[in-house]
Each structure stands twice: as structure tokens, then as C-alpha cells.
């Protein structure tokens, strides 16, 4: 039922934007990303002297910047998701939600969508940097990379949030939830380093499973079906697990 889903979504948004959570996370994100953006621009402009004429400096800056956004999300998103369910359980408000006429899926989706919204709000101001590049380069920076890159980062972040929701539903302890989310995601990311350039079927499978491997396609301006399928199934899978996990809370409580 849309109405209950919206009720949860609305409450979560209120939680983010009434409390300092959102402001702290967004401010940190902007501060660090602005610093690095500045750094990348300078470095890549310097590099570009003495490079062949087809060296695409704006694309290089964008690519580096998008990579940075992904890395920053890896650090900040666990802080957003760790409380999603752990806090409700600890406070006892889970008992209110679960005895109200709403489905577990509404609770999970409402919370997930709210966290994705927070993530999008975080990303929004970084668009200013991209606009800056757009107006200060000749030829213009490639729009394709900008659009596919932002789609990629949004999908990448949503994966983080879905996994984080699931882990938060497993424990009452926020710190455990945050640390586990961060660790697991780092691991999924690192699969890429370990398997880069692998020829064997196993190596290729492992590489397919790496979250960052697909993201790199997006930063090159390619929207690959395989990447889309990977991210969407990742999200759906963990949302599904979260719903099951919330449902099983009734049975697990001893």
C-alpha cells in the first residue's frame, strides 16, 4: 500500500533533515569532494601539457571525480544505514511498526527510498563542479560521461544502501551494523583488485561480482546492460533479504 510506504518514507526524511544527521553527512561529503575536485583539476591540467592532442582532460577529471564520489560513499553510507533498523529495534519502535497494519515490505522500501533520496541530495551539489567544468572547457566536457557517471554513482550508492539496510536489520547494535557494512562493501570492492585481468572463468565471475568493476563502465560513458542488471539485481536481492529478515524478527525473538 503506497500510503503506508509514504508514511515511513516521510518519517525517515524527517529523521534525516530534522536531526543533524543529513547536514553533517552532506557537509562532510561536499567538503571532501570539493577539496579533491580542486586537486584533480589542477593535477590533470598539469599532466595534459605535453600530452597528445587527443588527451581528453575534462573526461579524465570527471572520471577521477566520479571514482572519488564512490569512495566517499563507501565511507559515509554505512553511517546512514547502520541505524535504519538497529535503532528501531533498540528503541522498541519496531514493536509499533510491526503491530500496525503495514507490510514489512512497506517498512523496508520506505526506509530504503528515503536513504536513496538522502544520497541523491548529497550528490546534487556536486553537479555544480560538473557545471564548472562544462563552462570552462573547450571542447565541452562529454555530457555522456556526466549522465552515465551520475547514474552509475546513484546505482552504486543504492547497492550500498540496500546491503546496509540488510545488515542493520540483523542486529540491535548500530556500531556492529556500520562496521559490518563497511567491511563487506570494501571486500566486494576489493574483489576487483584481486581478479583484474583474470582469464579463467572463476576469475571472470569474481570480477563480475565486484561492485566497482561495473561502475568503471559508467564513468567511461557506457551504460552496459550487464552493469545495469548487476546493480538492479544486487539492490532487489538485498531489499528482499531485508524484508525476510524483518519478517523473521517475529520468529527469531527468543
Amino acid at each position: 500500500m503506497m500510503r503506508s510506504l509514504y508514511a515511513i518514507y516521510r518519517k525517515e526524511m524527517g529523521h534525516y533533515f530534522v536531526s543533524p544527521v543529513a547536514y553533517v553527512v552532506v557537509a562532510m561529503f561536499l567538503f571532501v569532494s570539493a577539496y579533491f575536485f580542486n586537486l584533480y583539476v589542477r593535477e590533470i591540467v598539469e599532466q595534459s601539457f605535453g600530452m597528445p592532442a587527443d588527451f581528453d582532460a575534462p573526461a579524465q577529471v570527471l572520471r577521477a571525480f566520479l571514482g572519488l564520489l564512490a569512495l566517499l560513499s563507501l565511507f559515509l553510507m554505512p553511517m546512514v544505514t547502520m541505524g535504519l533498523f538497529a535503532e528501531e529495534r533498540k528503541r522498541g519502535t519496531m514493536e509499533l511498526l510491526m503491530t500496525s497494519p503495514i507490510r514489512e515490505a512497506d517498512i523496508v522500501l520506505g526506509k530504503f527510498l528515503a536513504s536513496v533520496t538522502l544520497f541523491a541530495v548529497m550528490l546534487l551539489p556536486t553537479g555544480l563542479y560538473v557545471v564548472y567544468i562544462w563552462f570552462h572547457t573547450d571542447p565541452r566536457a562529454p555530457l555522456g560521461i556526466v549522465l552515465s557517471g551520475y547514474l552509475g554513482i546513484l546505482l552504486f550508492g543504492s547497492c550500498l544502501l540496500a546491503l546496509g539496510s540488510f545488515i542493520s536489520s540483523l542486529t540491535e547494535n548500530q556500531l556492529i551494523a556500520g562496521a559490518l557494512t563497511f567491511g563487506l562493501f570494501l571486500l566486494l570492492w576489493a574483489l576487483d583488485f584481486g581478479s583484474r585481468g583474470a582469464e579463467s572463468p572463476l576469475g571472470q565471475t569474481v570480477q563480475y561480482l565486484s561492485v566497482i568493476e561495473h561502475f568503471e563502465d559508467f564513468t567511461r560513458g557506457i551504460i552496459d546492460t550487464s552493469g545495469l542488471v548487476y546493480y538492479l539485481s544486487f539492490i532487489v536481492f538485498f531489499i528482499f533479504l531485508t524484508v525476510r529478515s524483518i519478517d523473521s524478527l517475529r520468529w527469531r525473538r527468543a
Binding site: R10, K11, R91, E95, L97, T99, A254
Partner: protein, 325 residues
């Protein structure tokens, strides 16, 4: 309105609720009475759909809480043991959220909030953040949450915990006023609460129902026996012997009273015999000044102890309660 059949809940080898059956009629207030760990909260959590039962069925407003859970929950208001509050919301914002997840249409929400705040005496805290409220106010916000959507059935787990005596009286009044239009189950370990507010009482112990009846009937059950307490200025031993001789006296306990030289004696008499005048005559005959003589009718408290404690424990506890008197 509420039908519970053979409800059982086992946590591994421990049976928290053991084949419990009862029903609550529309508009009735049912009190759940029992020592800590008796299975009150577990029963309530099953009723509200928070926990699944191991076996047995429970129905709210005709809907099974397991197989038709959403429909059953639609008619339910529930105050858990710890009020489920969001500290960062205002009282009004919180109740608005509750109305939303209870599927109350938008045009009715404002009126429902005002009504609930009025009933729970929270009008002046409407715009206050919940985290700034005292324990008693938080408890009342929890109560407002349970009734804000005007449900048919209201389940209250220890609704007066954390309130001061004045607030307790207010809440009891509130609960009494809710009856009639709402069906209420409340749990408590405070006995007067049950006799004051409830139409019927379920006494539950170790997961099993020990008794179900009206508070009056439960009191009547044990009224057969009579208990007399006297205070006199007399030597303990001879007084004990004297009273024990009275025909009809089943047991006599003598202990020093607060005033020096005074003793109090508690006499349990067999049912149907009024031995008060006999006791008075005997004591006065001896020339011992008699300061007090009163008959004590057994309270719900005694019945409760009778039903929920083993005999040895019972004797000890009633001794203690005598002393504190």
C-alpha cells in the same frame, strides 16, 4: 471481540504461555494479573501480532492474528511495555505518524490528534519534542498512541508504570471511560488497579490461567474465611493461649505492636462463625486493655498470593505483609 483458544508459546524448552483460553466481550475491560514472567507480555504480544504463537489461535474483531494479521492489526491499538516513541519527533508529529501507519484518512487526522491529546491530558505538550518529556509524560504519549486511531481493541501492557499517583488515577479514569466503545485488555501487577478498573480479571501464573472471574467474585471466593486483628496490652504467651482456646479459631499469631507493651494478634476463623464478640469478651475478662478489634476481609492481594505462590512462600509473605501493616 477478542477470542483466545488454547494459546501456547514455547521458547525452546520453556513454555511461556501454556494453553491459555479466554474471551473478551465488546466494551469490556479485562485485567491481566500475574507476577513478573508469568506470560502476560507474551500473551499480549501474540494478540497484537508481534509474536507468532506456537499453537492455538487468537482472534481480534473476528480476524485471526496469524492468518489474517493485517486485518486484525487494523482494529488494534497497542501500548507495549516500553512506549515505542521517536525522541526526535514532537508529540503532534509522532501521533500524526502513528495515524498514517494506521491508515487513518488525512481529513480525520487533525481531529483524532486533538481528541487523543485531550483524553491523555497532553494538550500543552503538543509541540514539545518527545525527548524533552519526563517519564510520566512519555508514558502518556504512549497511551495516546494506542488510542489515537480510535481502534476497536486496545491492548495496554502496564499502562500506569512510571506515573505519579495523581496521573495513575487520571489514567484509570481514562481507561474506564474508554470502555464501552472500546474493548480493552490491560496487564498490571498492581492489584488495586484491577479491582478499580477491570470488569473481569485473568490471573495468570507460570504461563497458565489460575483464575478468571470478576474482581468481586474472586474476593467473595475466599471471603468464607474470616480474619480478625486485635491490638491489646497483654503478655504475648498467655494471650496466644487464650485466643487459641476460642472455639472456631483456626490459627492465632501474636506479635509485638508498635506501642510499647502492646501486642497484635491475628486470628483466622472458620467460615460462618462470627467470633469477634467472643474474642473481645475473653480479652476484657482477663483485665487486658483492648485497643482495637477489626475484621479483615481478604483482599484481591491475598487471593492473588493464594493462587500464584506455593504454600510455604505464601505463609512467609503474608507474615511480612502483616508486619508492614
Amino acid at each position: 471481540m477478542i477470542e483466545v483458544q488454547d494459546l501456547t508459546k514455547a521458547y525452546g524448552p520453556v513454555t511461556a504461555v501454556d494453553h491459555v483460553s479466554f474471551s473478551v466481550h465488546e466494551g469490556e475491560i479485562l485485567g491481566f494479573l500475574g507476577p513478573n514472567g508469568a506470560g502476560k507480555t507474551t500473551t499480549m504480544r501474540i494478540l497484537t501480532g508481534y509474536l507468532p504463537a506456537t499453537s492455538g489461535t487468537a482472534k481480534i474483531a473476528g480476524f485471526d492474528v496469524t492468518t489474517n494479521s493485517l486485518a486484525a492489526r487494523r482494529h488494534l491499538g497497542y501500548l507495549p511495555e516500553n512506549p515505542p516513541l521517536y525522541p526526535d519527533l514532537t508529540v503532534e508529529g509522532y501521533l500524526d505518524f502513528v495515524l498514517r501507519i494506521k491508515n487513518v484518512p488525512p481529513d480525520k487526522r487533525a481531529a483524532r490528534i486533538t481528541d487523543a491529546l485531550e483524553k491523555t491530558n497532553l494538550g500543552d505538550k503538543r509541540h514539545e519534542l518527545i525527548k524533552r518529556l519526563s517519564r510520566g509524560y512519555k508514558q502518556r504519549v504512549g497511551l495516546a498512541q494506542a488510542l489515537v486511531h480510535d481502534p476497536l481493541v486496545i491492548v495496554l501492557d502496564e499502562p500506569t508504570v512510571g506515573l505519579d499517583p495523581k496521573q495513575i488515577i487520571e489514567v484509570r479514569h481514562l481507561i474506564k471511560n474508554l470502555a464501552g466503545t472500546h474493548t480493552i485488555i490491560l496487564s498490571t501487577h498492581i492489584l488495586p488497579e484491577v479491582s478499580m478498573t477491570c470488569d473481569r480479571v485473568v490471573i495468570i501464573n507460570k504461563g497458565k490461567i489460575a483464575a478468571i472471574d470478576t474482581p468481586q467474585n474472586l474476593t467473595m471466593q475466599l471471603k468464607g474465611a474470616q480474619r480478625i486483628v486485635i491490638e491489646a496490652q497483654a503478655p504475648e504467651k498467655p494471650l496466644q493461649e487464650l485466643l487459641a482456646e476460642i472455639s472456631g479459631a483456626q490459627s492465632v499469631e501474636v506479635s509485638p505492636a508498635r506501642a510499647s507493651g502492646h501486642v497484635t494478634a491475628t486470628i483466622e476463623a472458620a467460615s460462618g462463625k462470627d467470633i469477634r464478640s467472643l474474642v473481645a469478651a475473653k480479652v476484657v475478662e482477663k483485665g487486658w486493655p483492648l485497643y482495637e478489634l477489626r475484621g479483615v476481609s481478604l483482599s484481591l492481594e491475598d487471593i492473588f498470593l493464594e493462587l500464584t505462590t506455593d504454600d510455604a512462600e505464601h505463609a512467609q509473605e503474608s507474615n511480612e505483609s502483616e508486619k508492614t501493616k
